[in-house]
């Protein structure tokens, strides 16, 4: 989710975010309800076709399912031992296809459009005193913070290597927590300065 959006002008890119999320929900449900090999084969073809239509390229497609590869192998082996080959193939395929479909939505939808869609869906919560903008802002911040915190972690590790310190959880965690808290503080202040807090 960290800004994986691939700019483009395919029909999938032009589809509203809400329609894509709804389609994703429907397709995933179908995927888990229908288990015949024919259906799964058809679904695989459909996912491949959708990727082709989106024009995001094979690299971006692989990046979506790559983090899953060891888990998928483990799942396959487990299902094969516990159930049978058919069970193993269908369970693994369902998982990979569902993740690929979700990935396709993030690849073809601007993050801001996704957030705007969440905001609209959350609008009824206003009656309960929830501010949808705040909820979507929190989600944006969470996504935005992943690369920032990982950069902070790299910096802490490098500083320790430069000092010739050996690895220890405490020597890593303490400075990291301190810098994350400091970053959170600075971020809160910057958001006030940008006027994002006075709604």
């Amino acid at each position: 989710m960290t800004g994986v959006y691939v700019p483009g002008d395919s029909p999938l890119h032009r589809l509203p975010a809400g329609a894509k999320l709804l389609g994703l929900a429907l397709l995933c449900t179908t995927l888990f309800l229908l288990g015949s090999p024919l259906w799964l084969g058809g679904s695989t073809v459909l996912v491949v076709l959708l990727y082709a239509v989106s024009g995001v390229g094979p690299g971006a497609a692989w990046a979506q399912v790559k983090p899953l590869r060891w888990f998928a192998v483990a799942l396959f082996v487990m299902q094969f031992v516990l159930v049978d080959l058919h069970g193993a193939v269908s369970a693994t395929l369902r998982l990979v296809l569902a993740v690929a479909l979700a990935g396709l939505v993030t690849l073809t939808t601007r993050f801001a459009d996704m957030m705007a869609c969440f905001e609209r869906c959350l609008a009824p919560l206003r009656l309960l005193g929830v501010d949808p903008f705040r909820v979507s802002l929190v989600l944006s911040l969470a996504v935005r913070s992943v690369p920032v915190i990982s950069a902070l972690a790299t910096r802490v590790r490098e500083a320790q290597q430069a000092r010739g310190l050996s690895w220890s959880v405490r020597a890593f965690a303490v400075p990291l927590v301190v810098s994350v808290l400091r970053h959170a503080d600075a971020m809160g202040e910057a958001m006030s300065a940008r006027g994002l807090d006075d709604h």
């Binding site: 800004g3 959006y5 700019p7 300065a193």
Partner: protein, 224 residues
């Protein structure tokens, strides 16, 4: 434009600023001083991020204590660390976020975002993730997100500290061209050459306040 009236700031039992009385109306104003002399605190007083313990600060006729939200709409603030102020995952989205309260149509937002990104050479990166930009480009992005709102006053706390020579020159040129008044806190004395007024802080007090030449001379003597 800006008035400090006998301002003191006390934080954690220490006087961070004492008895600051200033009236600022110049176009380019610089603030220099040693580490811990109170420069950032002075800058933060300008949009109500910090509040005076004694005295008061008025910006465009509004008291920062009572009208912080109003003042933040008029005052754009640029921090040293751009990572702290970039909220959205991609470049164009972050600039667009600034405009959300303006009640513009999506097409208008898009156009103003493109326009400001093009002006600062970031249009090629509009759809890129913000974390892939270099430090200098991130600082430019943070600047775009502030300038797209066309603030009446711009305050910057060490905007060039993390930048290489080329990017700090770029920021220096930008400063010169901006139509609105700017208050810049900096350790980059070269940046201040063309400024109208430079204020030197020492241990929370204004110890020099003049055109750049004499003020920077005073600061150099203070540091030696």
């Amino acid at each position: 434009m800006i008035r400090f009236n006998g301002v003191g700031v006390r934080l954690a039992g220490r006087d961070v600023l004492s008895d600051v009385t200033l009236s600022l109306s110049e176009h380019r104003i610089g603030v220099v001083g040693a580490n811990g002399s109170g420069k950032s605190t002075l800058a933060r007083l300008l949009n109500g991020l910090a509040l005076p313990t004694s005295g008061d600060v008025t910006v465009f006729g509004h008291d920062t204590r009572r009208h912080a939200a109003r003042i933040r709409r008029d005052v754009g603030f640029l921090f040293t660390d751009p990572d702290a102020q970039i909220v959205m995952p991609t470049v164009a989205e972050d600039v667009a976020l600034s405009l959300r309260r303006k009640g513009l149509s999506p097409a208008e937002v898009d156009e103003r975002v493109r326009e400001v990104l093009a002006r600062y050479g970031l249009d090629r990166h509009a759809d890129h993730p913000a974390h892939l930009l270099s430090g200098g480009q991130k600082q430019l992005l943070a600047l775009c997100a502030v300038l797209v709102l066309e603030p009446r006053l711009l305050v910057m706390d060490e905007p060039t500290t993390l930048l290489d020579l080329r990017h700090s020159r770029l920021v220096a040129d930008l400063l010169r061209e901006l139509p609105q008044p700017v208050v810049v806190v900096t350790h980059d004395l070269g940046l201040l050459d063309s400024f109208d007024r430079v204020i030197v802080l020492d241990q929370g007090r204004v110890v020099a306040d003049s055109t750049p030449g004499p003020a920077i001379g005073h600061y150099r003597k203070l540091m030696s």
